[in-house]
């Protein structure tokens, strides 16, 4: 039963007309991503773009001194490696696997060719890029104006939206890294949420109990 791993679980691939998809299909290579994998190293040349199906990837912006911040999250609704078709083969950001799972990748040249043929794929990718821009803007303003509590809620929801279950495998340390804050800060905020009965976590395993409760706490972002 390979249906469990259909590339068309990715929404962009699913939105392609059948013939276009058949065209691309031979170039799709399945990869299993494990937590912490780095798909794109900041500044390095990229060879593939990735279409996540049941995995989640975080886009981080890393600075010279090692500090970093998550600028966007990509799941089955998107694609990792935008800059390949946007022009310029490097990005200033790093892409880290935030939730283990599967993705399908295609060679950079293939996606470029498809993109510049100006078919339906192009429109899809452009619209997704636009959505990504929006997400980044939200992140920026949220970083500026909202409390860590709210940002944590937002982060949990962003992840939850891209997950089939309500369980995240993720230590507080890692979350802190993504958000660009202290680990202790996450401990504290997560403690509040746990006390409020919204989540329960245990050694790198976070279960969301009350999604609506989280939504009530989160900012509009």
């Amino acid at each position: 039963m390979t249906l469990q791993h259909d590339p068309r679980q990715n929404h962009l691939l699913a939105a392609l007309p059948r013939d276009e998809y058949e065209n691309l299909a031979p170039h799709l290579e399945r990869v299993d991503l494990t937590l912490g994998d780095s798909l794109v190293e900041s500044g390095k040349v990229m060879r593939h773009v990735y279409f996540p199906t049941d995995s989640i990837v975080s886009l981080l912006c890393v600075m010279e001194d090692g500090d970093s911040t998550e600028i966007a999250v990509v799941g089955a609704e998107g694609i990792v490696g935008i800059s390949l078709f946007m022009g310029g083969e490097t990005t200033p950001s790093r892409a880290i696997v935030q939730s283990a799972g599967t993705a399908y990748r295609v060679k950079g040249q293939v996606i470029k060719d498809e993109f510049y043929r100006a078919g339906p794929l192009q429109g899809l990718l452009l619209r997704y890029t636009q959505a990504l821009l929006t997400q980044m803007a939200q992140t920026a303003v949220c970083n500026r104006h909202h409390s860590l509590d709210q940002q944590l809620c937002r982060w949990l929801l962003l992840s939850l939206d891209r997950l089939p279950t309500n369980e995240l495998i993720m230590t507080q340390e890692l979350i802190a890294n993504m958000l660009g804050v202290r680990r202790e800060g996450v401990t504290e905020s997560a403690g509040k949420l746990q006390k409020a009965g919204l989540i329960s976590y245990h050694r790198g395993r976070i279960t969301v109990l009350d999604r609506l409760g989280l939504e009530a706490r989160v900012c509009e972002c």
Copy 2:
């Protein structure tokens, strides 16, 4: 002498091959922008894209409660209204004129047609969009990790890069609005810079005296 107002002062237009440019030229409409003008209201439908020549435009992300943050700055090197050709006719961000000057605008439909003809303009716009993404990422990480002092330096330099002179017309109040911080905070930071002899300002008129000094203080962003 209309050379002072040549659309090709905009770098994107300047990079077009002559025939492509001649194609577009009849649709270019000159507009004079004054400080504080709003080119794009968050959520509203856009009718034009703008190519600034000697004006500067700030892209702000505004929230429901009125708080806002600048997410990018656009000058002669770019274009305002990306989402028109990226798909989706609205943006979540607002575009405010930060420095008065001239820009050339074209109707949304025209730029779309040109874009989807997949000529040289398309590549230029895509690459610029990629650059914008990078700028936004930098802004996000800078918001998170750097002091107001550094952010102010960065902001001054970003503006300076897009200006023919070393004088900015901009009150501290407005800067604070852009950066999404308190006015008093800007007063304080600006005071430090003034004491250090890097800038001098006076009632909405900031003169940069020592650009290298600013660069020494700013973060890598």
